[in-house]
C-alpha cells in the first residue's frame, strides 16, 4: 500500500475557485486602478512637468463663422483664433461646405475652393493669433434664410497645439522650488507638530474618555452617543462652528474670556503664530478623540474582571490597577491606533484648510499641495509636494504592516 500524498499540482476545482475569486475581484480591481492607481502614477509624471493651472486649457483653434452685410454687399466672415496666448498651433486648417445659393467672390490667398468645399491653410500660427477672413459673396435667395444655413454649417478646424502634459519636456524645478524655499522648514515643522501632538493627544484624551465610561451608570448610553458627535458630524459644519466660536470680533469664547477677566483684549485664535497651529491641533484632538475612545472602550470591556478582583485581594490601589493591569492589556490596541491615527493625521487636509486656510504657520504638507497647485497656480509644484507626501506615507506603511501583522484585531 502506498502512502497517500497531497496533490502537488492544482486540481480543476482549485483552479475554478481561483478563477471565480478573480472574476469577483475584477470589478473592484479595475475601478480602483482607474481612479486611484492611475492618478497616483500621473502625479509622478506631473511633478516633473513645468505645468501651471492655465496650461490645463487645451491649445486648439477656435473658429466662428458669420454672414454679414454692409448695404447690399454680403460677405462670409471666419474668425480664426488660437485659444492660447503663448503656445503655437501647428498645421491650422479650416474646411467648410458652402451651401447652394451662395457664390463666393475673390478668395483670400490661403484659401482654395474645390466644388462646394472651401479649404484654407494657415500653417503654423503663434500664440494669440486672431484673424478675420472676409470672403465677399453673392446670394441667390432670401438673405435671412441663407444666413441661418450658412451659419448652420459648422466649419471644421484642424491643428494641434503642444500639450505640456504629454510632451517630452521635463524639469526638476518643481522639486527644487519646494525644497529650496524658506517655507519648507516651516511646513515640515507644522506637519510634524500637528501629526505627533494631534495623534498622541487624541489617543490620551480618548483613553480618559474611555476610563470615564468604563462603568455602569444611568445615562451612560447618552454620554457615549454624545462623545461621538464631533466625529460623526460633517467636518464643514464643525470647522465653521469653531471659527465662529473663536472669532476675535464676534466670537462667544473671546467674549466669555474677557467677561471672566482672563484676558484683556480678544485673542485671534486662528490668526496668529504659534497659537493657530496649537488651535488646529486641539481641533484635531477634539474631532478624533471619539475614535480612539470607541476602540479603547471596546477593548476595556473585554478585559476579564477576575484579574481586578485578584488585584483587589492583593491590596492594589486604583492607580496601580490601571498602571499594572489595564494599561498593559490596552497596549496592543493603543499601538495599532497610534499607527493608524498617525497616518491619517498626516493625511488630513480638510480640517486645516477650513480653519485657517493654511495661514499663520499652519500649512502642513497636504495643505501645501493645494496651496502650490491652486493658490499659486503651479500644478507641477503641487504634484511635487504630493509626491513627497506619498513617499513619506510609503515609509509609514512599512512600519504599519510590520506591526499590524503582530497585533490581533483590525
Amino acid at each position: 500500500m502506498t502512502a497517500s500524498t497531497p496533490p502537488t499540482t492544482r486540481g480543476a476545482l482549485e483552479r475554478r475557485e481561483a478563477r471565480l475569486a478573480w472574476s469577483l475581484l475584477f470589478p473592484t480591481i479595475a475601478i480602483v486602478s482607474l481612479v486611484i492607481i492611475l492618478p497616483l502614477l500621473s502625479i509622478f509624471w506631473i511633478s516633473f512637468k513645468p505645468v501651471g493651472l492655465a496650461d490645463l486649457r487645451p491649445v486648439a483653434p477656435v473658429i466662428r463663422e458669420s454672414l454679414r452685410s454692409s448695404g447690399d454687399d454680403f460677405r462670409i466672415e471666419y474668425r480664426v483664433r488660437n485659444s492660447s496666448q503663448q503656445k503655437e498651433v501647428r498645421g491650422l486648417t479650416l474646411t467648410d461646405t458652402i451651401p447652394a445659393g451662395v457664390t463666393l467672390g475673390a478668395l483670400p490667398q490661403v484659401c482654395a475652393l474645390t466644388g462646394d468645399t472651401l479649404f484654407c491653410d494657415f500653417g503654423d500660427v503663434p500664440g494669440g493669433f486672431n484673424e478675420r477672413l472676409r470672403i465677399p459673396v453673392t446670394l441667390d435667395g432670401d438673405p435671412e434664410v441663407l444666413e441661418d444655413i450658412v451659419e448652420g454649417s459648422e466649419p471644421t478646424a484642424t491643428g494641434s497645439g503642444d500639450n505640456i502634459l504629454t510632451n517630452a519636456e521635463f524639469t526638476l524645478d518643481n522639486f527644487a522650488r519646494i525644497f529650496d524655499s524658506k517655507e519648507f522648514m516651516s511646513v515640515l515643522w507644522a506637519t510634524v507638530f500637528y501629526t505627533v501632538v494631534g495623534t498622541i493627544g487624541a489617543l490620551v484624551i480618548g483613553l480618559f474618555a474611555a476610563l470615564l465610561l468604563n462603568k455602569e451608570f444611568a445615562g451612560k448610553g447618552v454620554l457615549r452617543g454624545l462623545y461621538l458627535f464631533p466625529y460623526v458630524s460633517p467636518i464643514i459644519a464643525v470647522a465653521f462652528t469653531w471659527v465662529t466660536l473663536f472669532d476675535p470680533f464676534s466670537g462667544s469664547l473671546n467674549a466669555l474670556l474677557i467677561q471672566m477677566g482672563v484676558v484683556e483684549a480678544p485673542i485671534n485664535f486662528f490668526g496668529q503664530r504659534p497659537l493657530a497651529l496649537i488651535m488646529v491641533t486641539v481641533f484635531e484632538i477634539w474631532r478624533y478623540f471619539p475614535l480612539s475612545f470607541l476602540f479603547i472602550l471596546a477593548r476595556m470591556q473585554s478585559i476579564d474582571t477576575d484579574m481586578y478582583e485578584a488585584a483587589d485581594m492583593d491590596g492594589a490601589s486604583p492607580f496601580q490597577k490601571f498602571w499594572y493591569l489595564s494599561l498593559p492589556m490596552l497596549l496592543g490596541i493603543l499601538s495599532v491606533l497610534f499607527l493608524l491615527r498617525f497616518i491619517w493625521t498626516f493625511n488630513k487636509f480638510d480640517d486645516i484648510f477650513l480653519l485657517t486656510g493654511g495661514n499663520a504657520g499652519t500649512r502642513t504638507l497636504t495643505v501645501n499641495v493645494y496651496e502650490q497647485a491652486f493658490a499659486i497656480s503651479n500644478i507641477g509644484a503641487g504634484a511635487a509636494v504630493a509626491v513627497v507626501v506619498f513617499a513619506t506615507l510609503l515609509v509609514f506603511s512599512v512600519f504599519f504592516f510590520k506591526y499590524i501583522s503582530q497585533e490581533e484585531g483590525l
Binding site: P39, L56, V389
Partner: protein
Amino acid sequence: MSVLRNGAVTAGVIGLLWAFVIAVTVAVTLSFASGLGFRPGALGCLILGVGGGLALIYLRAVPFLLAGFVAVSVVLMFTPLSPMQFTDGVPLGWQLLSVVAFGVFTLWPMRVMLVEAHPGDLTRHAFEDAVIRFLTGFGYIVFTAAVLIPFYVMVMTSLKSQQALLKNPLDFSIDLSRGLDLFRSYFELFGQFNFGSYLWTSFYVSVLTVLITLAFSVPGAYAVARLRFKGRAAFSRSILLIYMVPMIVLALPIYIAFSMTGLRNTIPGLLMIYPVTTIPVALYMLQGYFRGLPGEVEEAGLMDGLSRLQVIWKITLPLSLPAMVSVSLYVFMIAWNEFLLAFMLLDDPSKFTLTRGVAMLNSSEIPRQHLMAGAVIATVPIMALFLGLERFMTKGLTAGSVKG
C-alpha cells in the same frame, strides 16, 4: 505626599478644586444661557470649597450639610466673598439661581468623592479613590462641555440676527416673541440659496454611493474571505494600503483629468470618484464579517446544488444583514460629509452638494447665522441617522475607522 494623604488635607484640596470647577461651570453655563455677566469668585470658592470638604468628612450629616452649605453660599453672595461675581445689571433672581446651583452642585457630588475619606491618615487606597472620583467628575464636566458647547453655539447662532450677535456674542437667549422669524436664516437658505436642491443632491449622491460601493465590495469581500487563490494576502494588504492614500494627492490628478474630459462640474463625475474612495473600507469591513460567518451553512448550500453566486445571494447576504446596515451607514456618512472633492470639482451652484453649498456661505458678504444655519442643515440628517441607528453606527465606526 504624606501630608497630602492626611484626610483633612485631601478633603480640603479636593473641596477647593471642585468648588472652583463648579463655579467656572455655572458661570459659563449661565453666561451662555442668559448673556449676562457671571464670573467665579476666587475667595468665595476657597472658603466654601475648603469648608465644605472639611465639614463633609467631620460631620457626615449630608442633608443638613447641604442645606447649610447652600444657605452660607447665599449669605456670602451679598458680601465681597461671594463664590459667584456678577457684572452690573444681573437681576437678583439670576444671582440667586447661580449661587444655589453652585451650592448644590459643589456639595452633592463632593459627598460621593469623599466617601472613603476620613479625618486622620488615609490609606493609599482611600486617597487614590478620592482623587479618582474627583477626576471622574471633572472629566464628565470637561468632556461634556467641550462636545456640547460648539454644537450649542452652532444651533443658537443660526437663530440669532446679525445685530444681536454683534451686540453681545455671549447672548444666546432666544427671543420667543419673534415667533417664526427665529427660523429666518433657514427660510432664506431654502428660499434664496437653493438649499432644498443641495439637500436632495447630497441625499441621492450618498445613496448611490452606498449602492455602488456595495455592488463592488460584496463580491470582492466574499472572494477575499472565502475563496482560496494565490495572492489573497497580498490583495488584502494592498486594500489596506489603498485607503491610506490621502485624498488630496488623488484630488490633484483627478481635477486635471476631469477638467480635460469635461467631467468636472458634473454629478456623474462625482459618482465615479466617491464609491472608489469607500470601496476599500467597505470591502475590508465586509470581509471581516464574512469570515466570522459559519462556513458550514454555505457548504450545505453548495451540496444542495446552489452555485457560488446563489450562495452569496441566498445565504451569505441574508446572514450578514446587520453588517450590511453598518457598512451602508458608514459609507453614507463618508459620502454625506465629503467636502474636499465636492469643493474642488463643483463650481456650478445648481449642482452643489450640501457640503459644497455650506462652503459657499463662508464669505464676508453672507451673515454668520446663515453659515451656521447651513451647518445645522448639514448636521441634522446625519445626527438623526446616527441617534436612530446608533447600535449599527458604532459597529460600523469601530470596524471601519481605520479610515479617518
